[in-house]
């Protein structure tokens, strides 16, 4: 179902999902991320938790729920990774907030715009991670590298198909 909210000068389409969809999809993304990495280290290039945070942020267009969803997914990701608790929580809270804000202003339904947005979000996520690691952990994490560029292109390509699949879960 699509709800149109007429405000001063803009139409904001807010997509609703069947109850429990957001929780189940985020849960599956985290489980799959850890599960796939077990079989092949190349799956480490994928960032499924980031993809779902971006998708629900862009679709639901509510910056408060976007940032809380990002924080929760990030903290759970920290919980099953060897990273200090809060590292991914901060990065994904920022992404959830920006994705929700962007979703309310731009066309996020077209595959090309989704590809470009995911590419940008991946690098913003990496920059927030790198800044947090530099400032708080006094460690080095690259802001940009060829490896990250490849990872961002792969994630953007996956996002186009994943988002189209997730669109079917809308009410």
């Amino acid at each position: 179902m699509t709800v149109r909210m007429d405000s001063e000068a803009q139409h904001i389409e807010v997509h609703k999902f069947y109850s429990g969809t957001v929780a189940v999809v985020c849960f599956l993304a985290l489980v799959l991320q850890a599960f796939l990495n077990k079989f092949n280290t190349h799956f480490q290039l994928l960032e499924l938790p980031l993809l779902v945070v971006v998708y629900f942020g862009l679709s639901r267009r509510n910056s408060v729920s976007g940032m809380f969803l990002g924080t929760l997914v990030g903290l759970l990701q920290d919980g099953i990774s060897h990273t200090p608790i809060g590292l991914y929580g901060i990065a994904k809270a920022v992404i959830g907030y920006i994705a929700s804000s962007v979703g309310a202003r731009l066309d996020t339904e077209h595959p090309v715009s989704r590809f470009i947005l995911m590419f940008l979000f991946f690098h913003i996520h990496q920059v927030v991670l790198a800044i947090t690691i530099h400032l708080l952990l006094a460690s080095s994490e690259p802001f940009f590298s060829v490896h990250l560029l490849i990872a961002s292109l792969i994630n953007s390509a996956v996002a186009v198909f994943l988002f189209a699949g997730l669109d079917r879960l809308r009410r």
Binding site: K38, Q44, L45, M67, L75, G79, I80, S81, H82, Y97
Partner: protein, 318 residues
Amino acid sequence: MDVPSRQRPLVLLVALILAQVLLLAFQIKRGQDVRLIRVWSAELLTPPQRGGTFLLSKIHGAWFGYIDLRSARTENKRLADEVGRLRLENQELGSQAAEAGRLAKLLGFRQANADAPMLAAEVIGASADSNSQTIFINRGESDGVRRNMAVVTPDGVVGKIFEAFPHTAQVLLVTDRESGVGALLADTRTHGVVKGTGDPLLWMDYVTTEEKVPAGERILTSGEDKIFPKDLPVGTVASTKPGRPFQTIQLEPAAHLDRLEEVLVLLTEHSLASTESTSGAPSAQEKTKNPDKTPAQPAKKPAPLAKSAPGNPQKEQQ
């Protein structure tokens, strides 16, 4: 303070970030982890991984055992039955042989160190991020697993228990950037420290440039880290780079960390027999370089692998 409604989400975001920055600062300052969040995350997310591992093995068996057989029937009933049966048998035998090979290796290692308590565990998952090198195993506190216990395979060192949860445990692999293992060169017994880099290869530090380190030389644990028993294989030298005062040595890990399926958790820091001795013959290095080392005596009645008696750590520990 009255915050305009349009700015409330931004204020909330700043508050959320600030709370997590404080959480990070607390962990760094105190050197403590927020265990509760890790336990909740692991308890929430590892059961599906455990189920997934089980399900995949069943699907794999069903696929090769049933679907292959059915497709063969369509070509020729009699021949297909025969071919299917043979293929099924062949695959079962192949699969059993591969599993038996792995388990025999584990059992050999176990029997060679019969007096050292250890626990077989299955790898059920890996880290959810690309910055850390960790795996999850299906053994936890209820099986006697504790933090900082060594995890090995008969091939060599795998890592250490980073966090033990009630029914699972997280293992920090030696390739993780925060990993460190007290090590020595097998031939000269020169000590150093092996560190992970986040990449498949390891680095060995604190070996002076004057020391000649040929490629292919084996690196063993020194036992100085109080985690890994002495003389376990860590890796082999891949390349060296001179430096002042220490050279940098790049190693290839001895354990196949990219395809781990079963591992052993050492429930003590007890010295183990080197893996060469599990195949019957002690290594030349053992004979010449470490004559004082008393090899572990095989027990008269070797205990079964701990995997066969899950949930009973008392039976598994000797």
